[in-house]
Subunit: 363 residues, 2 copies
DNA sequence: GCTTCGACCTATAACGTTCTAGGCGTTCTT
DNA sequence: AAGAACGCCTAGAACGTTATAGGTCGAAGC
């Protein structure tokens, strides 16, 4: 009902609660932290007073006083869907361990340096960086000051911890699956210089070797749907045309699927497609993409526990790099090859009765 | 080269810098804040000492001492792509005004209450909530303590500021565009109880009225691709079949597009589709969705300036709700209707030479 | 030559919390 | 029965910073 609050009420402090409960300030602190040192009767009284005043602890004062801030800084890309899953996992893992998260986003107008700098000011005890692009030397410098853990990017450094998916093994799962279905001409659309892309290329090559398939076909791709669309056109032009393809990630695979469908190439009838990430995209029932799932929950749990171990002064483990096995999620974009259904390359006439959309003016 | 740093070096404080520069602590503070009260020579000396020690101000101590924390709390959904755009905009707007952002994410395992509670502990001066689902009474309670601004959701309250897109006007732009192209049977796939959905339904009805089109067709939709896919099937079954459809958002529209293409309905030949959000999805060249763009930059700039005005004690403006006009981005999913190309409803046989993907086992 | 002033600097006290040291009573040892 | 041990509580200091109130010193004013 206050039309315009002339003066905002000062927030209640420990002193206010102490005065109201008729005890000393430190005792209120003891009660609020649930540490031993107060009788049950007093606890009751203090908590009641705190409730009545709407007391909320001031985390800044708390952190200033106690050397431990119980704060883990997290740098993430606000645009990247998978980072959303990781942040979710980090929250629950940190929460379970009694730590808080300080989020700092990388945006088109805010680079990683700034994101990290703001976390440093906040007196985080440790840093978790999701898919950072900072040079290794920068990361090493940071690691001098505090534990630094990198997720989803291999880092050649003895001072930085790494938790990442076993990218090579993931692609191998995909190739194994396709080979078991009977495919022998399997292509790979790669991710260029993206984190993990090199590993996935290697996994593809090794898996083909293992199955005795020697006609590897690696097409330049990328991270986006557009990259996938472009790669798909090259894929269709390849001769002999592959019957299956593993794609760097789900976004890129979506672009591949779109072009295939538009060109009248049935999926999975004429072309099986496997993605990577198990993003929400892949799970959509109308996409239903067979894909390699990164175990975000294990990755984040491990990241947090590793960082905390480091904070607790545990000695560095033998391997600074933890590699998490992914698993394959089979949906509807993979099936045995059907040579009988092969049609001549090129767009299917009936499906193009309507004009193909032109490139958008604002592309 | 230190294999295992036995003791992490304590962070440099003002006192350390003061000792090294041979001056008092407050003077160092004066220099670091760039406020008058020190000679140029001393400034030089102090800054040099700070540099050598790698001094970084402790934002916690700073905020504790000065009543102003210069901190704006932001609650956002880590899964929602458009929130990413908003967060980006908020960062630059806050930065320009000399404020910091404290991010708190809503995740599947972390609801809005918790997200808000953690920001309250951080002693933010104000709160910006992106598309919150908290009940109005909760929002009003918060607004008692501090300025609260809600983005992208209409709130019926006299104490909460709101900045949002003019949803009704956005759909009207879409309908105007379609009507100008010559469409007369225009359907709308709605967003159910999602924020803004009611406004967009209203805009759709009003626009149809304005163009003298009386056969409104509103199909239940939702926020996701799956919702769009389901709605698209109902759309195709409608008789007479509409030649154009406006969809609640881009994600949902993507599901619509997918079903249309799969069923052999050419876009935009037989069906024009307009989305809402201008998300990165819509911009993909192989999607090229005509869509209503929300002006994230203006929304965020306005949100920040409004919140800061409130902090500066400026009187409440007449309207607590600021409504931002959206604009239409025409891409390739809209064109004049082509009755000549109409085919009987139902899947096009040739396009189904391969089996349609079954619903994924993991849905 | 005494004030007045301004430029520069310092001492001290906060901010809200937690840590350390202790002070009482009561109960357990021996 | 004296001391140790414990449970409960308080006083005072500390965390790193900034706000307030001076203090010193040379120059300017009369």
């Amino acid at each position: 009902m206050t039309q315009e609050p002339p003066t905002r009420p000062r927030r209640a402090t420990l002193a206010d609660v102490a005065a109201r409960a008729g005890v000393s300030v430190p005792l209120v602190s003891i009660v609020m932290r649930d540490v031993p040192g107060a009788s049950d009767a007093t606890r009751e009284r203090v908590k009641k007073a705190a409730d009545e005043l709407g007391y909320r602890p001031d985390s800044r004062a708390r952190m200033l006083r106690s050397s431990r801030t119980q704060l883990i800084g997290v740098v993430f890309g606000v645009q990247h869907p998978f980072h959303g899953d990781l942040v979710s996992g980090l929250y629950s893992a940190a929460d379970a361990a009694g730590y808080e998260l300080a989020l700092s986003a990388v945006t088109p107008g805010r680079n990683e340096e700034r994101a990290v700098a703001s976390l440093l000011q906040d007196r985080c005890e440790a840093l978790i960086l999701l898919g950072p692009t900072l040079p290794t030397t920068e990361l090493a410098n940071l690691a001098d000051r505090m534990p630094v853990l990198v997720v989803a990017r291999p880092v050649r450094s003895r001072v930085v911890d790494v938790v990442r998916t076993d990218d090579a093994a993931g692609i191998q799962l995909a190739v194994d699956h396709l080979a078991e279905l009977g495919h022998s001409r399997i292509a790979h659309i790669d991710g260029g210089r993206a984190p993990g892309a090199a590993e996935r290329r290697r996994g593809y090559r090794e898996a083909l070797d293992r199955h005795g398939l020697d006609d590897a076909l690696i097409l330049p791709g990328g991270l986006t749907e557009d990259d996938g669309a472009a790669a798909a056109r090259r894929l269709l032009a390849a001769s002999p045309r592959p019957t299956a393809v593993t794609v760097f990630n789900d976004r890129c695979a979506t672009g591949v699927l779109d072009v295939l469908r538009r060109e009248g190439v049935s999926v999975p009838g004429e072309m099986s497609v496997v993605g990577f990430d198990d993003s929400s995209l892949a799970r959509l029932s109308h996409v239903a993409l067979t894909t390699v799932a990164q175990d975000a929950e294990r990755i984040t749990a491990l990241a947090v526990s590793r960082v905390i171990a480091r904070l607790d002064g545990h000695p560095a483990p033998d391997e600074r790099e933890q590699v998490i096995a992914p698993h394959l999620v089979v949906r509807s974009t993979t099936a045995p090859p059907r040579p009988g259904l092969r049609r001549p390359a090129g767009p299917h006439p009936a499906c193009d009765a309507g004009p193909l959309p032109l490139p958008g003016p604002l592309g």
